[in-house]
Subunit: 627 residues, 2 copies
């Protein structure tokens, strides 16, 4: 049976055989739906309206009109499906442009370009004669000898056309090659007649939520273009756990997720190449930094065991791959370097960030904090490095918080609460009417509520609150940040007791992780000389708020630094610098990984941190305690 | 325009658009036509009869009935085409079975299996735990450490399923890996749960005329099956030069030739796997020995410059390839080792032969002679090796000789001529009525004619011959070996003066090549302690005849040895023995190549050898001179 499914208001029609969900069918129509639960049907973010026709939900067939999560519905007749803007990921796409700088990194200024991954060299080879009849390959290798330590590997498809290329160019050629690390032979990517185009490379940050791509002119060491967008995988689950579940439990789930991220990456590649006017074939190397799950999904590697104890990935270090292995829209022989990771929840994005921020070169002890769905933390200096990941939960990304939104225009990012909670002042991104609260806003709210005495030190609403903002909501007691008439949706923006507890657990996990690492080494908080806050979220945090709720250590503000997108900076460094690649290998190899989920000390620290700011006020001397 | 072309008597029909020749169309119908001129239309071996319809030959359209070389005719209407048995290559196929032993080698008994190219090892890995959470790849490499010198490379598609394979087998696994040479890391080909099938490998001799395949059980070091057939490329040209011309001058010619040989090889692979009941995936390594042109065509590498001065191939040494690069019908990750060659006309088949015969391990000076289309000769011992190729021309393979046929049943292989040429006795292969004269028969005829005084020392017919066998033929004076009523075709089998001169040039080239190598080193003929005759043709030569016509040196018969198919033996040795692969690398690297085409000494030696047996009778003390 073939059904025709028409998506509105896009008016795009696809054929369906009744076995695929409306999420998959919408994806085929080019429409990416939101989703946070990995297709479990529990998050409700992919809600659509069936205008005409019938769908199957489980074993039941239901007719229009009907509101249904798209991930649960399969066509049982020709359909007309209305997709509301709130269920679309694309809605956010346009908003991204305004904040592209938050996703994209700055130039990887810390690295001298001391050995790009991909290089070109021009050679004038002597033409063969009866006295010197060496074969073409030997002649090429002889010519490369001055530029390379050992013999390069020349892949078969370069050999196939080598004779004509050498002679068409009258033995004046340009050779593009990749050197991964010194222990391996260089590999020739392409041989061109005479002068070829400049060598280009791509640095890619494959994030769970966003993907960013930079195009680099490797000869000039110049960033030629950059672009970022949401990861199309987001339609299949908001966090890595949901993606892994989708990959392992849905038919062809892994393939679907791989296709989604490759499509995202290729769209960005085409965008940067187009902007810079560079041919795909000129790109001879690609570096990717991503968390361990993102790398597995990009490479199409089974991620099942990442989420099951003892949390074992297929690999942390990857061989140098070919672009054709992944279907990237560049020279199919371009080599792909995956920044090595440390463990299932401390991936190559962290390795890249550590090297980009230079933590591994510091003399003083440094703390590197990347807060996202998971909080990943690294402590160390040039002599040692220790990493941990704490399942902070996606609270700061809006997970488990009804009002939670990403840092898009309209998101509340700063809040002030007057004592007693009578009045609330807030600021939104772009000064638009509020649509929700983003991560930095949630920290600000929590700090504000504590400061104003709306919640006590354990985060519970005070019993004696007299403000109308404190009321009984759908989910029990709640505090209103923005009234119904102030918001875009016409619904109030509020936080319930349960949501405040979610935030408390998230902040406690981060601080407990930091303390556990320090404690395992017998170090006090003050031994940390510098703190780097990484990631898109990290750079919007108000440090004072974060310290006042006890999420980050109470250290002098001047010790805090924002790294920006350090994963992308690290990917760019790997593209440009052999030293950076060498350091990444060393960092990933030598970093000690502390598994917090089974650490008793962590559980104790976590419990102690479930207060505002902490049970031990001595740890937060600068914070005025909540009475 | 689409035409329907029906081939008879096969009754197979194909569609044609008028741009392809009947050779190509017949190939598509599964019918391989003979051909010696590379589609030039000059050899007449692919003659077919147009029974109905019209064909275009050049710019002219001609209607049935018509006899035409298939390589010159393109459909201009629906066609009925009759293919006579004499134009088919398949006709020979069935005959081959009877002589398979001649094409196939014996066990490579000279090599201890001291390191098969592909090996399997069973490992019981410790399962991961929170105390030992290493990733799957690290765990695999750790397990392999006891068996390998360094870290193995694990390709992406093995990594993709590694997590589930490891756990399905409960961490008891079997790993197949390939070690090319010691300087390179081993590469994992497959990882299987628990006990996997025995590891198999294929040794392939890719000859210009015939292809032979052996299947080896690499654990038991046992040849499991063998098969041989004609190279389907033969339809596009009889010798390497014709093939190169076809590859470079016909549209998609290289692709056509590559497809033809891959099809040939795959048919044989399926045959040996079927016979032995082995799955394609169990084959993890393939070794190929072939002349330089055959290797280029098998790999799809541009062979243009092999035939143009200064005769430069794309490569003599090849990287270790993957079976999927070539489309071989085995495990797509199986590694393919190409035996390295020395020069455009001294290929990997010679390297393989030298090592199989052990020339590179002998103390005494040894001569290795492989007579085919070209005569390739190697002189040397364990300290030095020198090689040359002489364009003997394909006379001994029947080229330029009307009566020339391959060594198939019915071929005259031995001849005795009574003094004066009155009577001729001959023996055919299989004692069938004669169909022509094969290579060894031509040597025998020439020896017989000289011995009987039919030709003088310069190879010219004596003016005073009184026998009716000496007559004026179509091409001038000729000598009849078999009369019209004795042969299968009803045509006499004879040799003309021009044809005798062709043979004389062919034998002179071989002897002159040997003498030039010896002379360049200041060595006398007698310094050669052993002579190895290689190849299918080599093993049928009557040494006494070959010496008496001055083709091979006049040395004691006990110094002569037949190697059989030494290229195939060498390929098998490379499959089984690391020592053999190491020796092949060393032999190909160190062998001095003497380019005869520009060597004055060779021209002098050649001229001196254009006598029976030679101008210098002192070189042939055992041969009774022709008065």
């Amino acid at each position: 049976m073939t059904y025709r499914v028409r998506f509105r208001p896009d008016e795009i029609e696809v054929n369906a055989d009744g076995t695929e969900t409306l999420v998959t069918l919408a994806a085929r129509a080019g429409i990416t739906l939101r989703g946070a639960c990995g297709g479990a049907g529990t998050c409700g973010r992919c809600q659509v309206e069936i205008k005409e026709g019938k769908v199957r939900v489980g074993d039941v067939t239901v007719g229009a009109p009907l509101h249904v999560p798209a991930c649960q519905a399969k066509p049982a007749a020709d359909l007309e499906v209305e997709i509301p803007p709130s269920s679309r990921l694309e809605e956010h796409r346009v908003l991204l442009a305004a904040r592209a700088a938050a996703v994209l990194g700055e130039e990887a200024e810390t690295f001298v370009p001391d050995g790009p991954l991909y290089r070109r060299v021009s050679l004038q080879l002597p033409s063969p004669s009866l006295e010197d009849p060496a074969d073409d390959l030997s002649r090429l290798l002889r010519g490369l000898k001055a530029h390379l330590p050992g013999d390069a590997r020349v892949p078969l498809d370069v050999l196939r056309t080598l004779p004509s290329v050498l002679r068409t160019g009258n033995w004046r050629i340009s050779v593009g090659y990749v050197i991964g690390d010194e222990s391996e032979a260089a590999e020739v990517v392409d041989v061109a007649c005479a002068e070829a185009a400049a060598p280009y490379g791509l640095a890619i940050d494959v994030g769970t939520t966003t993907v960013a791509v930079e195009l680099w002119d490797l000869a000039a060491c110049r960033r030629a273009a950059a672009a970022g967008s949401y990861n199309r995988q987001a339609a299949f689950g908001e966090d890595v756990i949901a993606r892994i579940i989708y990959a392992t439990e849905q038919p062809a789930g892994l393939r679907t997720l791989q296709d989604a991220v490759v499509k995202t990456v290729n769209e960005l590649i085409r965008q940067v190449l187009g902007e810079a006017g560079v041919e795909p074939d000129a790109v001879g190397a690609v570096t990717c930094a991503g968390n361990t799950t993102m790398v597995h999904l990009l490479l199409g590697v089974d991620p099942t065991y990442i989420r099951l104890e003892p949390y074992t990935p297929a690999a942390n270090r990857w061989p140098l791959l070919q672009a054709r292995n992944l279907g990237l829209a560049v020279n199919p022989r371009a080599k792909v370097y995956i920044v090595p990771g440390v463990a299932s929840y401390v991936g190559g994005d962290i390795t890249a960030g550590i090297v980009a921020a230079g933590v591994n070169r510091k003399e003083g002890i440094t703390l590197f904090v990347d807060i996202g769905t998971n909080g990943e933390m690294v402590l160390g200096n040039r002599d040692w490095l220790m990493a941990c990941a704490c399942s902070a939960g996606p609270a700061f990304e809006g997970g488990g918080i009804r009002a939670g939104v990403r840092a898009v225009p309209g998101a509340i990012e700063e809040v002030a609460v007057l004592p007693g909670g009578y009045e609330v002042f807030f600021r939104t991104i772009g000064d638009r009417p509020p649509s929700g609260i983003c991560g930095s806003g949630l920290i600000s709210v929590l700090a504000g509520l504590a400061h104003a005495g709306v919640v006590d030190r354990s985060g519970r609403f005070r019993k004696d609150l007299q403000t109308p903002r404190f009321r009984e909501g759908e989910d029990g007691p709640e505090f209103v940040i923005a009234w119904e008439n102030e918001t875009t949706s016409g619904k109030a923006i509020s936080l319930s007791q349960a949501e405040i507890e979610n935030l408390l657990r998230a902040k406690a996990a981060i601080f407990a992780g930091i303390r556990t690492m320090l404690g395992s080494l017998g170090l006090a908080l003050d031994s940390v000389k510098e703190i780097y806050l990484a990631g898109g979220f990290g750079q919007h945090i108000n440090i004072k708020d974060a310290v006042s709720i006890g999420m980050l250590p109470d250290l002098p503000p001047e010790r805090y630094h924002f790294t920006g997108n350090s994963a992308l900076k690290g990917a760019a460094a790997a593209l440009l610098s052999q030293t950076a690649r060498r350091e990444m290998t060393a960092v990933a190899r030598s970093m000690t990984h502390l598994e917090l989920s089974v650490d008793n000390r962590f559980m104790e620290e976590f419990t102690a941190a479930l207060f505002l700011p902490h049970t031990d006020m001595d740890l937060f001397p600068s914070v005025k305690g909540v009475s």
